[in-house]
Symmetry: C2
Subunit: 240 residues, 2 copies
Amino acid sequence: MLKYEVVASDLRNRIESGQYKANEQLPTIAEMCKIYGVSEITVKKATEQLAGIGLISTRKGSGSYVKGDVGAFLRDPSAEMSGQMAGFKAEHEQLGAEVTSLVKTFEVIHPEPEVAERLSADAADFVYRIVRVRLADGMPLVVEYTYMPISIVPGLRLADVESSIYEHIEQGLGLRIDSAHRIVRAVMPTPQEREWLGLAPDTPLLEVEQVGFLDDGRPFEYSVARHSGDRYSFHAVAKH
Amino acid sequence: MLKYEVVASDLRNRIESGQYKANEQLPTIAEMCKIYGVSEITVKKATEQLAGIGLISTRKGSGSYVKGDVGAFLRDPSAEMSGQMAGFKAEHEQLGAEVTSLVKTFEVIHPEPEVAERLSADAADFVYRIVRVRLADGMPLVVEYTYMPISIVPGLRLADVESSIYEHIEQGLGLRIDSAHRIVRAVMPTPQEREWLGLAPDTPLLEVEQVGFLDDGRPFEYSVARHSGDRYSFHAVAKH
DNA sequence: AAGTGGTCTAGACCACTTC
DNA sequence: AAGTGGTCTAGACCACTTC
């Protein structure tokens, strides 16, 4: 583990265990340098990371403070952090759930104009089109519509689509996933989606439209995920 | 403007103007040091900021790259970035809209248990309860339910509530707003909300539940904002 | 006046990519 | 072997807060 990760994870443990309490001032950066035997910049990087996930706030000329009431926000198991991108399988397995997928469509097509634009692809290129219902412990949670250029993600098989496409991209192809741009909306399900997700009437969905990027900047995925509304929420930390 | 801001904003301009194109490699960090006459850490801070808003990705041992197709994501005017927190008024005035508010309720009450918990307050404390319909250019966009402890935000008047509570907190009280924890969900409107927002039947809302924090870590605001679904979306950048 | 976090420097070392 | 971004150091200076 890197030095700043050691500092950040130790501070995090002390905050979550209540050793540093809500609204309390943390040791100064100079003190933390002595405590952990590291330089100022290393401590700074650790506190920036904690501020980024919303655990502390820092105040110039004054000190660093533990935020009040972070518990409910961080502990919510039905929540995904907007800052993290792990893929459906990794995310739910981390919570101890067994993940399965019903593959409704797995085909290769020419992309519609909107999909082509998002993938920086041409209408003449081939892309996979995948429709999946994804379940955790047998409960249908989300319908995912995924498009990927076959030129970037070659050799995708039904077995990959049934388990985890991200695993095929990272382990199988040796590519590195960097980040994603997401747009979140509230929508109503189609009749088909209502049936697949087993929804009561008048249940809205949370739609997450996403463009995923590799670490060389290329978009490798365009997807629309429509999440069962009463079983899903989305967490974010906003800075002023 | 700070040095790293100068570098970041210059790089951003060159990317958005197309001088550095999608999927293209940026100058190396060492080259940028020479170009801008700054140290490595300063360039690094600038590239980290750009990676944070999803404009570039960096690849160890290889280089920094402009992300493909960032245009649509960054230009969408109906979108709020999850990473930013400006308040409704500042956000929409930036887009050139005239912001008004219909104050439906403005009272002082003892908080319900859930509100008290979020505000780290006691059931015996007094909090403002404010219900507002907020409009941009006369179009109702969102219903906001806001709770704030009177001990932290004293002297709030109807005039503040009608324009901007954040202005009163920052300019009037000299407090500094640091950040907010947000939870986003899809919900159906109540009949009252449907009327206030002028919604067609079967239109869902995007609910943003938020706890706002001052820079000393104290929660000063608990609010639930329910956004008209077809006129609102929420942008985020997720890191792998 | 003393203490605090934020920015910035020159330079070292490392792991990884590219050739 | 050469080039690249990522981490880390010791130290300087500054703006701001606190007393």
